[in-house]
Each structure stands twice: as C-alpha cells, then as structure tokens.
C-alpha cells in the first residue's frame, strides 16, 4: 500500500461524483464518505512506515527543471494526515445529517472530496511547486464550499473575498518559490535542505530572509494572519461543517504546516523568524480582542481560530515547529469539536447564529452542551486537557525566546478564556432568548457521535503516549511551574470575568465599537478596494481610452487623415494653380538637386 492511494481515493471520488453519479445527492454522499474513510484507513495502515516516492514527473525539462508530483511520507506528514483524515471523516459524517435537505448535496460532497484531495496533496508534497499546486486547489475548493449557497449575495461575496485574499498571499509564496528556484535550481525540499546544509552558495543573507518571508506570505494568506485575516470570519458564510473542517482544523493550518515543512529555511534567517513570530503574536492578540465582542457564534469561533493560528505561527517563528504542529494537532480536534457543536446548535435553532438569540440550551441539548463544554475547556487550556499541553509548550518557548511575546501570549490566553466563557454562558445558560432557542431539541445520533469522538480526543490527545501513537510532533519542553501558574491564572481570571459579566445578561452589557467592528479592517479594505483598486482601474481605463486609444492611436489616425485632407486641398482643380505649382516644383527640385548638397 502506498501513500499515493491517499491522493487517488479522494480524486477518484471527485471524478465519480462529478461525472458518474448524475448529481444524485445520496450516491455522492456515500462515495465521498467512503473515500474519506478509506483515506483514514490507509493513513492508519501506513502509520509505521516512512517513505518517499515520485508518483509522476509533472514537468521534466532535461536537467534544467524537474517538478514532480512526489510524495513525502514522514512523521510530519503522517501526523498531519491523521488530523486531516480523521476530522475529515467526522465532518463528512456530520454533514450527512447537516446537509440532508440541501438541494445541491452532490456538489457539496464533490467539493468536500476535492478539498480532501487538495489538502492531502499539500501534506504529502515533496516540493514547493507541488505544494503550491495543491495550495491553490485548496483555495478553490474552499471558494466553492464557502460559496455553496451562491445565490445568497453574502456567501458569494465571502467566497470571492476568501479566494482573492488567498491569492494575495500566494503572490508572495510564488515569488519565494521563484527566488529559491533561481538560487538553487531545484524546488524539492530535499534539494533545498541539501543546499542549505552545503552553505547555501550564491545567496546573500538578505535574499535568504526575503525568500523565507515571501514563503511566509503564503502562510499569512492561507492561515489568515494579520493583515490578511479578513477572509476567515466572512468564510463562515459556508455550511458549518465546512467551517469545522476547512476553516478551523485543516486548511487554515496548512500555512503552519508549510512553515514547518520549510522550517530549515526559517531557521537559517533570524530576521525572518522574528518577523514571523511577531506577525503571529500580533494576530493572536488582535483576533482575541475582536472575538470578545462578536455576536455570531461562528464568528467568535472564527476569531478564536485566528488567534490560535497566531499562536502557532508565533511559535514557528520562535523556532519550534514541533510546538506549532502539536498545537495544530490538538487545536484541530477541539476546534472541529466546537464548530461541529456550533453547527449542531445552529441546526437545532433553525439556522440562528446570533448568540444573543440563544440561551438556555444546556437543558435542551445536554450532549451537545457537554461536548461543547469540553471543547471550550480544551481551548482555554484547562489543565490536563489536550489544549493545556500544547499551549503550555508554546508559552514555555515564548518565555525562553522572547519575553515580550510571552506577555502577549499570556494576554491572549486570558482573552481566550474570557470570550469562550462569554460564549458558553450566553449560549447555554440562562433563559432562551428566542422562539427557536426555546424549541431547540437535541440533534440526531449521526450528528452527536462525531462530537463525542472529538470530545474524547480533545481531552486525551495531549498526553504523550496518545500523541506518539497518533504520530503527532512533540515539542521538547520541560515542565515549568512558572508557565503553569501564569497559564492557570490567566485562564481562571478570564473565565471568571466572563462568567461574572455575562451570566443572565440579555444583551451585550457594554459595546466597544472598535472591537465589535473588528478594528475597522473590513471597512478599510473595502475603502481601499473601492477607491484605490477600482478607482485606479477606472482612472487607468479612462487614461487608456483618452491617451493611448484617443490621443496616440486616434491622434495618429486623425493626423494622417488631416494631412491627407490638406494634401487634397493642393489639388484644386484649377489649371493655373497647377501650372503655378508645377513651376514652383521645378524651381524647388532644381534648387534642391543642384544647390542643396
């Protein structure tokens, strides 16, 4: 059995769904679920092997350029693959129920399979170009899934925004790839590693930093780091299972995964690492602040995702890819859990997403509440949940590497506890604040089973034996009581404040406009797009019509015609004038010939 199967299964599913099922929803769902379950099975079966292979020569141009579809099956890939396929399987199953009544089920499951295919490609890629290929494909599947309900203007716009924002990141990513190719003549990770190990001939430190940072741009886009984070909250317009799978657990983590893959490059440049760490820390703080004032349950989770991704990016920048991957792994479970839980709530409340119109769901949806609660605990790093271990590692590394970032990280931990307890309190406790919430019922078994599995994993995944079993990367950190107490204190303080402030409130006690409006990022970007890009486009179009087409092309045309008319005037039809001109012509010609030499 080879890792190539992991790519083939979802691809096959896509092909079958798009061309073989005649858009039958049930059939497509079955095919899709089967393929992802198969992928999970293959991943588990291949857990103990370590291999690399070339599946196909994609571009082969003599010895000048070689780009393969090559697979690299190492611990990093295995761990990531496990996360992707497991969460994927659970989300697929959850979707069976969640999307039961959707008209375009076949398209939905087809796109899910496409996503699984692309994500697998990223994880397995053994070179930058291949990673870029699947990177883009992931972007497309994300576009399609966000815009699943495309007749809704907001969904269509969100999909477009996500894709374009990602492309801006890819702009940098591609340039990074180009620089590295230009320097080394290869794009494969092994080749790059060897080149770096051999003293990276021909590259100045500045260029290396630039290349690393360009690659990081890709991660900024995909992992929604500031300032390109704006697409992720909007992406919540997609179906909730999609948010769980793509916009929480896997795709947005691809940026982090990629950074870890090219970690050897980041290590080679101190500046690049520092920039990355600060971008991560900044994003974490910014997103946590914004999360405290959101009213949409999915948006809160989205900002929380942003914030956690910020953690991961920060720690990659600080030099520990393992810690980042460990957090990625635990985060995938509890964040998927939270999203699916949110999905269950939304489903139960008839697609109500505003937390202020919920409330009292604890009694009506006890299983969901339990699962959601566990997820929350893991997210706020309650001791001895999985999230606790991974966050501990991050804080520890931050403490050693950069004190300022440690402070920020601790602040984010506080804020996380605060907004999550707010979410929990407002949604589940108190009295129902709307009719839908009042009539909510516990969801079906097909929906809560995935929740329970994820809840279980959210608790146990952090323990070393489990993590090792599941091929997660384990950071090399030692128990640090200082970090433990800081973490505990911030968590308790945040959670306590959240409980006290929001218990039995019917609406937001104090609106902080700057946070509620997400620091006006969207407004600023909207303004820039409208006025800078579109305005510039109109101006350019106008200039083009005026100068190039009008003045240059049109001017030359008119000039030619004008001169033609002028010449025509000479031919007056009057014989005397002709004779006169003839005479002048003779004189001019003779003068020119004889005297003007």
């Amino acid at each position: 059995m080879s890792p190539a199967l992991l790519l083939l299964l979802p691809l096959l599913s896509v092909v079958v769904i798009f061309f073989g099922t005649k858009w039958s929803g049930t059939l497509s769902a079955l095919v899709s679920v089967a393929s992802v379950a198969g992928s999970l099975g293959v991943t588990l079966a291949l857990f103990s092997t370590d291999s690399s292979m070339v599946a196909m020569n994609w571009i082969a141009l003599g010895d000048v350029l070689q780009v393969d579809i090559g697979l690299r099956w190492d611990r990093l890939a295995r761990g990531m693959m496990f996360v992707v396929t497991l969460v994927g399987t659970l989300v697929h199953v959850f979707s069976l129920a969640y999307m039961r009544e959707d008209e375009a089920k076949a398209r939905y499951f087809g796109c899910l399979s496409l996503f699984m295919f692309s994500m697998t490609g990223i994880v397995l890629a053994d070179n930058l170009v291949m990673m870029f290929i699947f990177w883009e494909l992931v972007g497309v599947s994300s576009y399609l899934l966000i815009g699943h309900w495309f007749t809704k203007a907001s969904a269509a716009d969100a999909a477009k925004k996500a894709f374009i924002t990602n492309r801006i990141g890819d702009f940098g990513f591609l340039i990074g790839i180009l620089m590295l190719f230009g320097l080394t003549g290869t794009v494969s990770f092994t080749g790059l590693e060897n080149w770096l190990a051999g003293g990276h001939a021909g590259a100045s430190a500045g260029l290396l930093t630039a290349a690393a940072l360009c690659l990081f741009c890709g991660a900024v886009g995909k992992s929604a780091q500031a300032p390109l984070h704006v697409w992720l909250p909007d992406a919540m317009e997609g179906p909730t299972p999609v948010s769980a799978l793509i916009h929480a657990a896997t795709m947005v983590a691809a940026g982090v995964f990629m950074l870890v893959r090219v970690g050897f490059l980041i290590e080679a440049s101190e500046t690049a690492g520092l920039v990355i760490a600060w971008v991560g820390g900044f994003t974490a703080l910014l997103a946590a602040l914004m999360a405290t004032q959101q009213d949409d349950i999915k948006k809160i989770l989205a900002y929380s995702t942003l914030s956690q991704l910020g953690y991961m990016v920060m720690v990659v920048g600080l030099g520990s890819g393992e810690a980042a991957m460990f957090h990625l792994y635990t985060h995938a479970f509890f964040k998927a859990l939270l999203f699916l839980g949110a999905g269950a709530i939304i489903y139960a409340c008839h697609h109500e997403q505003n937390i202020w119109k919920m409330g009292g769901l604890k009694t009506r949806m006890p299983i969901t509440f339990a699962a959601f609660g566990i997820g929350t605990l893991a997210l706020i790093a309650f001791p001895f949940t999985s999230g606790f271990f991974s966050k501990e590692a991050i804080l520890d590394i931050a403490l050693h590497e950069n004190k300022l970032l440690f402070l920020i990280a601790a602040g984010v931990a506080f804020l996380t506890a605060f907004y999550m307890s707010r979410l929990l309190v407002v949604t589940f406790l108190g009295a129902p604040r709307s009719e839908h919430a009042g009539h909510a019922k516990e969801v079906s078994v097909i929906m809560f089973v995935p929740l329970l599995i994820l809840a279980f994993l959210s608790v146990v995944a952090g323990y070393k034996p489990v993590a090792e079993l599941l091929q997660a990367q384990l950071p090399d950190v030692h128990w640090n009581w200082f970090v433990f107490f800081v973490s505990l204190a911030t968590m308790l303080a945040g959670a306590g404040l959240g409980f006290l402030r929001y218990l039995d409130k019917r609406s937001e006690p104090k609106v902080i406009p700057v946070l509620a409006n997400k620091f006006y990022f969207d407004e600023a970007y909207g303004w820039a797009v409208r006025n800078l890009q579109d305005g510039l486009a109109w101006v350019v179009r106008g200039l083009d019509a005026l100068f190039i087409d009008g003045l240059a092309v049109g001017g030359i045309t008119r000039l030619t015609e004008g001169v033609g008319c002028l010449f025509r005037r000479v031919i007056t039809g009057n014989l005397q004038a002709y004779s006169y001109l003839f005479g002048v012509g003779v004189f001019v010609l003779i003068y020119f010939t004889v005297f003007l030499r």
């Binding site: 571009i59 082969a60 716009d157 590259a203």
Partner: protein
C-alpha cells in the same frame, strides 16, 4: 504532397467548396475533424521519431525563387506541433459552437476554415516568406467576418483592426526583412528559417537589438502588446463568436510563435541590450495596466478581450527569459491561453445569443438557472486565471521559473519584472471572480430568469476543457517534444559557450 500540405490545403479547399455551395456546417465539421485527427496522428507519430538535424519532422522544401531564396518549405517541430494541435482543436470547437442556421453561416464557416488554414500555414512554414504570408491571409477573413457578421459597432471595430493590424504587419515586415538580410550568410539572401538558424548568431549586438526591437514591436502589434492593445477590445467584442475564438485563440499566437521561433534563437544578445528593457516595460503594461482596465470592464465580452490582452504579457515574459524554461513555458501558455480564451469566447457568444446580454449589471444568478453551463464557464474562468490542473498554470509557472532561473542571487530587471508580473495573478483573480460572481451567482436577475441556454455548447466545451486538463496534468506530453536544453536551440548564447559541444563547434566553423 505530405501530411503537412494536406493540413493546410484541406481547409482552403473546404472553404472554397462552401463558397460554391456545399453544405456549410457539415463540410466545415468534416474538415475540422479530419484536420484534428491528422494533427493528433502527427502528434503521436512524432513522439516515436527522431527529428532531423534541424529539429524538424516531415520537412519538405520546394524552391519558389532562387535569389532571394524563397521556398515552399514546411516542417513541424515540437513548438509548431503544439500550435498545430491548438489550431485544430480550436477550429473544431469553433465549428461546433457555430450553428448551421446562423446568420451568415456560410461566411462564418468558411472564415473559420480560412483562418485555420492561415494559422496552420504560418505555424508549419519553415520559410519566413510563407510564414508571414499565411498569417496576413488569415487576417482577411477576420476583417471581413467582423465587418459583415459582427455585432454592436461592427464597422468601426473591423475598420480599426484592419488598419491597426495592417500597420503592424508592415512594421513586422521590416523587422523580418532586416533579419533575413542581416542573418543570411554569404550564400545570398534566404528566407529559409533552417538556413538562417545555421548562419545565425553572427550578428553584432547593436544589430541584434534593432532587429529585436523591430520584431517585437511588429509582432507585438499583432499580439496586442501594450501600448498597441486598443484594437483588441472593440474587435473581439464585436466579432462573431467563431471569429473571436479563432483570432484570439489561434491567430494571435502567431506573433509570439514568431518571436520564439526567430528572435530568441537568432538574437540572443538582444537579451542584454536596451531592447529587452523596452520589452519588459511594455509587457508589464500588458499585465498591470491592461489588467486594471480589465477590472474596470463591466461587460463580459470586453472583459474577456482585455484579459486576453493581459495574458499576452506572461507569454512575452516567457519570451524575454531567453532560456529554455521560459520558452517552453511560453509555448505551453500559448496553447493553454488559446484554448481557454476560445472556450470563454464561445460560452460568451452562447450567453449573448441565448440570454441576450453580456452586461454584468443585467445578469446574475445564472448558476441556479443553468448549473451545467455555470460549471463549464467556471472551469474556463479558473483555467484562464491559472488554476493548477489546467495547462495555463503549467505555462505560467514555467514562465515565472524561467525568469528566475540562474539569476545568481542578484535581483535584476527580469526578476523585478517577473515579481511585478506575479501580481497579475491577483488582478486576474479579481476580475474573473467578479465576473463569475456577477453573472452566475447572487440573485437571479430579470434577464437571466427563465432563459434557457440552448444546446450545442457542451461537446465543444468538454473538448476544450479536456485539452486543458490533459496538458495541465501532463505537461510533459508537450515538453517532451520541445528542446530541453538551451543548447538545443541553435545559435543561442549557451551554444556559443559550449565550445566542446559538437553542435556549437559547427557553428563557430560556419561563422568564419
């Protein structure tokens, strides 16, 4: 008469038959089909064979004139083969897209065939005279087709393209003649490309620069290089669908093909001089300036036209790389762009015919009315903005890689240009997704409501998409046919440096 002659002459004969009253659609379809199969046969045949010393297959040459040496010389190498395939595929699709009972059907079908014949002739000729001549001839049905069967402001548009391309081809003629006169060896003036290659690279740097500038401006006008692009949008917007498909998809590639065929191998030193700076500047104009114009367009046809102009910039970048990666990328991109723009123009024409408008503000939500159509259009749109899996991506990525190849750690003008050009992928995403959003997504508009897209688009669209996907997933199918080292291009800089190479040795010898 070899297979290459047949490829060229068959469509001419068929067009004549249509002119004399043969059933238009059937004749055109049969011809396009036969040509398509013939080119496929050619494609697979060439893969198993070894080319002759000049790199060609099926080379034939019949002298037309002694001195200046003009020959009816045909031959096909990898690059030509790619473009021949492009031509026959797009011809078939354009024929399929056109209804037999359309207005001016006879004219349209014979124009398709004549343009195809002209393009094939240009791509297959290894003699500069016929290379140039065939392209010019193919322009005539284009002009007539737009003028007679176009829509909108057809007369003005046809007039503009006629005069504009007329000027362009005159400039080009000067450039080509300059090349022919200066690159011909002592044995008299020859128009034969193979002989020129053998004598090439003996030109001085300044001469190379001048000729290169002449060539890229001449070819550039035909390919709508910035700032000579303003003919494209009105012409494609008013052109009848098959004419737009054929011109934008196939015929426009002539100029780029010419640059790759002549300028890159024969004028390698031009990659150092001022001429290349100018080219780099202008191609950025294509990508960024025209890209912005494309964003501002509010109608599908003009948007597609401008996007096509914009994408030419990437191919020019591939040419400007002056190395095998960039050239190969440019070839792939020519193929990919030709197919995808033909697909989009075909679908756009369908939209115009069946819905009655292509203006964004009047369309919307078509995706729920005609999901299959939306799906196919989406594939075309994503292909054109370089989504991996489609051939466009393979081409673009190779062009970009080519521009950075061996840059030696110093970010030079080529690299800066490439970096700015990469921003084009964002621009193209913006306009393509906006167009898709406006036409297919959102609320169903009054114009889109209850309109049925009539039959006839599926098969040609699938054909084109299949071509894009196959080459996108297996670009090696084409790359195997192309030279894989710089030295395989005779007379290039790399050849000169590899003196131990037998090939290079020969040329040094010829030079003295």
């Amino acid at each position: 008469m070899g297979i290459l002659d047949i490829l060229i002459i068959l469509p001419v004969l068929a067009a004549a038959l249509i002119g004399f009253g043969a059933p238009a659609r059937v004749t055109a379809l049969a011809t396009a089909g036969v040509n398509f199969l013939a080119s496929l046969y050619l494609f697979f045949w060439c893969r198993g064979q070894v080319a002759d010393s000049a790199g060609y297959f099926f080379r034939t040459s019949t002298p037309i004139a002694e001195n200046p040496g003009i020959n009816w010389a045909l031959g096909v190498d990898g690059m030509a083969l790619v473009l021949v395939l492009l031509t026959t595929v797009v011809t078939l699709a354009a024929t399929l897209f056109t209804k037999g009972d359309a207005k001016h059907a006879r004219l349209l079908f014979s124009s398709i065939l004549l343009i195809a014949a002209g393009a094939l002739g240009a791509f297959l000729s290894t003699d500069i005279f016929f290379f140039y001549a065939f392209h010019e001839l193919a322009l005539v049905p284009t002009f007539l087709g737009i003028g007679i069967a176009g829509h909108g402001d057809r007369k003005a548009a046809a007039w503009k393209i006629t005069v504009y391309l007329g000027v362009g081809s005159m400039v080009l003629l000067i450039g080509l003649l300059g090349l022919v006169l200066h690159a011909s060896g002592a044995g008299g003036v020859t128009f034969d490309m193979v002989e020129l290659m053998a004598h090439g690279a003996t030109l001085g740097g300044a001469t190379q620069n001048w000729i290169f500038a002449g060539l890229f401006i001449g070819f550039g006008i035909l390919v709508s290089l910035f700032p000579f692009h303003s003919w494209a949008a009105p012409a494609y917007a008013s052109a009848p669908t098959p004419i737009a498909m054929m011109h934008a998809g196939v015929l426009k590639k002539f100029g780029l093909y010419g640059l790759l065929r002549l300028a890159v191998p024969l004028l390698p030193q031009a990659s150092q001089g001022w001429a290349i700076n100018l080219l780099l500047l202008l191609l950025l104009g294509n990508i960024l300036w025209v890209g912005l114009i494309t964003i501002a367009e509010r109608s599908l046809d003009t948007m597609l036209a401008n996007s096509s102009v914009m994408h030419m910039g990437y191919i020019f970048l591939g040419v400007a790389c002056f190395n095998v990666v960039g050239s190969s990328g440019a070839v792939l991109l020519m193929f990919a762009h030709g197919i995808s723009i033909a697909l989009l123009f075909g679908l756009c024409g369908k939209l115009r015919d069946d819905v009655g408008t292509v203006r964004f503000d009047m369309l919307g939500g078509l995706g729920s009315v005609a999901p299959g159509f939306a799906f196919v259009f989406g594939l075309g749109a994503f292909a054109s903005i370089g989504l991996p899996g489609f051939a466009n991506f393979a081409g673009e990525v190779m062009v970009f890689l080519g521009s950075f190849k061996d840059f030696g750690g110093e970010i030079g003008r080529l690299q800066v240009t490439a970096m700015l050009a990469v921003w084009g992928i964002v621009i193209s995403a913006v306009y393509a997704l906006r167009a898709y959003r406006n036409i297919f997504q959102g609320e169903v508009s009054a114009a889109s409501d209850s309109r049925v897209i009539t039959k006839g688009w599926r098969f040609p669209s699938y054909l084109l998409i299949a071509a894009l996907l196959i080459i996108g997933c297996f670009p090696n199918l084409f790359l195997n046919l192309l030279p894989s080292t710089d030295s395989a291009v005779p007379g290039s800089a790399a050849t000169a440096s590899q003196t131990s190479d037998h090939h290079g040795h020969d040329h040094d010898h010829d030079g003295h």
